[in-house]
């Protein structure tokens, strides 16, 4: 019986349970007060409409149960597995963390089936059935708890409500609470990021074969795959060079197209071009990566070769590699154009029309208006936009992964292949990885650096934007 319970898809059951409780208690609460007619006269109007009493009761009923379920969803599986592991024979427990995990994954998948097929493996079958048993138990418990909680809440609420009871206040309190939690999730995310990064980074520096902070930040040799050298300078170099190339393309083009669209373009033109730019923004980076590797990189290469072939240039002037920083940079630039343009577009449009009229009425030409009035007013916003774009470029992954290459080297030649922080992170963390080798952990260290750098940029940019906003609204 427990097993069958262990098999049913619990999710729907819980949702149904909550829904039913919600509706029932809403109607109970509503009718409880709606019976007596509401007075219309000014003065003794009731504080809350019957609906609010309904909502209030529903809250009381659903709230506790929901919390129980949440806890269950988060931890049950972990507990169940822990339980199971404890019961496994020692030689199994002796397995490496990774193997054990994979084993459990197979188990749980097997156990999840309606009637699991008998595999020959004795231990496996028993373990699987045991697992679904444990699950069954936990579900039984949680359902019971939920019932208890919701009934408790329901009757508690029912005793409170009457015509004079200020249900609305409580309901709104509840709603706001919910809203706050949602807002908090974002914060938790950041917290999660920071903590996990710091944690793993520390482990990295703690692990044997770690270069130490200094060696990590200022070492000029990077060979993480083989797990010797963790000097990140080449990575930084590559990252920044590519970002720079990208900005050279994106900043002017993005800015000018924004200006043209918001100041010159006719409505119809705008109506056509803006979506196109948005489309450009909507294209996934992996596609850009493909484009860079398949089209731009060869072009760059042949271009480089052509230059090398020129009579007045040494034939080895440019190392015309099949993968090149330049290719990645160019494409990344194209990718960032809409980013810059839309941001600048916003700030430019935020400049009130009256200012433009003012300048025009003084006999300024349109470009003078833009250059002397609009741009100065919008400048902070534009700077912010560029900063954000830079941090975007630094953090960009797929394009460089696919087009920039893997070689960690420091060279000013944009046609040679470079590698970047993000490339290395991907290289180190793709595929099955166990979280205890310096190789893996170094990825987190890189991530931490990346995060801090972009954070810096963003904070500056956002602060500037803030100032700018205050000026206009």
């Amino acid at each position: 019986m427990l097993q069958t319970l262990g098999h049913i898809p619990i999710g729907w059951l819980l949702i149904a349970f909550l829904a039913v409780t919600g509706f029932v208690s809403f109607y109970v609460g509503r009718t409880a007060v709606a019976r007596a007619p509401m007075p219309r006269e000014i003065g003794q109007r009731a504080h809350s409409q019957p609906n609010f009493h309904g909502y209030f009761l529903a809250m009381c009923g659903v709230g506790p149960a929901a919390i129980v379920f949440l806890i269950y969803l988060l931890f049950s599986e972990g507990i169940a597995r822990g339980q199971l592991i404890a019961e496994l024979p020692d030689y199994m427990q002796a397995l490496g963390q990774l193997e054990l995990k994979q084993y459990l994954d197979r188990l749980s998948e097997h156990a999840a089936m309606r009637e699991p097929p008998v595999t020959g493996n004795q231990l496996f079958d028993t373990a699987s059935s045991r697992l679904s048993e444990i699950r069954g138990q936990s579900r039984l418990i949680v359902l019971f708890l939920a019932f208890a909680a919701s009934f408790g809440g329901f009757f508690f609420g029912l005793r409170r409500i009457n015509r004079q009871f200020r249900a609305r206040d409580y309901v709104e309190l509840g709603i706001i609470g919910l809203l706050f939690i949602c807002a908090a999730i974002a914060v938790l995310t950041t917290l999660g990021i920071v903590l996990s990064l710091i944690f793993e980074t520390l482990r990295f520096f703690a692990s044997e074969g770690s270069p130490g902070v200094f060696g990590f930040l200022f070492g000029t040799e990077w060979n993480a795959q083989t797990g010797e050298d963790f000097g990140t300078v080449p990575l930084f170099f590559g990252t920044l060079l590519i970002a720079l190339l990208a900005m050279c393309v994106a900043a002017p083009i993005g800015l000018f197209s924004a200006i043209y669209l918001s100041e010159y373009a006719s409505p119809t033109l705008r109506a056509w071009v803006k979506p196109i730019l948005e489309l450009l923004a909507g294209i996934p980076t992996v596609v850009y990566g493909f484009f860079a590797a398949m089209v731009v990189a060869p072009a760059v290469r042949s271009g480089a070769q052509w230059i090398n072939a020129l009579p007045f240039t040494p034939d080895t002037l440019l190392s015309a590699q099949p993968q090149s920083a330049l290719a990645a940079g160019l494409v990344m630039g194209i990718m960032i154009i809409p980013f810059v343009s839309s941001l600048s577009d916003d700030v430019i449009n935020a400049v009130p029309q009256t200012l433009r009229n003012g300048a025009l009425a003084m006999g300024a030409t349109q470009s003078e208006t833009v250059r002397n009035v609009v741009l100065p007013a919008a400048l902070p916003g534009i700077i912010a936009a560029v900063l954000l774009a830079v941090s975007r470029a630094i953090g960009e992954t797929m394009i460089v992964v696919m087009a920039a290459g893997q070689r960690a080297q420091i060279t000013a030649d944009p046609t040679s292949d470079l590698t970047t922080i993000t490339v290395q992170i991907v290289a180190l963390l793709t595929g099955d990885t166990e979280f205890d080798s310096a190789k893996t952990l170094s990825a987190f260290a890189l991530g931490f650096v990346l995060f801090s750098v972009t954070l810096l940029f963003n904070l500056i940019a956002l602060r500037v934007v803030q100032r700018y906003r205050e000026k206009y609204d």
Binding site: S266, P267, P352, T354, L355, N357, G358, A359, L360, A361, M362, G363, A364, T365, E368, N372, V373, P376, A377, K471
Partner: protein
Amino acid sequence: MIADQAEAPESQTVSEDKPTKIDCRHIDVFYADKQAIFDISMPIRDRSVTSFIGPSGCGKSTFLRCMNRMNDTIDGARVDGEIIMDGSDINDPTVDPVLLRSRVGMVFQKPNPFPKSIFDNIAYGARIHGLASSKSDLENIVESSLIRAGLWEEVKDRLASPGTGLSGGQQQRLCIARAIAVNPEVILMDEPCSALDPIATARIEELIDELRERFCIVIVTHSMQQAARVSQNTAFFHLGKLIEMGDTETMFTNPTNQKTQDYITGRFG
């Protein structure tokens, strides 16, 4: 007893003796498909204040914007008819709107100083039009404009502070000073006081009263009282047509047209 208006009254606000500065002939304005102004002709006299009144949507602002071709900046706006200023039609394609606007200044409903220092706000026009050959030259222009706008005393020791920091009324006077600085011949004002309180309004009106010694001023307002107070000639618009135009005193004591009469006495519609 009370004098017959027919015979010229020796009020300080005669306008018949002033020469015509702008002569509008058969103006039609279209926005995209719909017509906003229907065949309006009127003379606008120099060195005096002409006010346009009428219910909102009567096209007074639209008509005003014809006179420095601000309508050009609106997509799909078309202006037919001639606006003769000093003998040449400003709608003529050969006329450069930029040049025109430096001769016909404009002040808007909402005070719109540039987010720059007070000095730069006023110097801007002079700079782009190259009116000032030297720094001191520029300073003269700024000072005299501010003095004429009656703002000098209030701001002379903070010319470097941003113009947006001033009060609403001061901002509007700053905008007027800015318009004067280019030393235009005509100043158009589009409800310059509708965003201001009575005191600030009174200040502006006083200012307008002084400026009319030197400029041809056209003001759109939807407060009849204001039109009565500041202007020597008044034109009453309704539904894009010019109903009546005449000497302000006559318009407000004894208008000839019944519509005008009704509008002014608050019997309209």
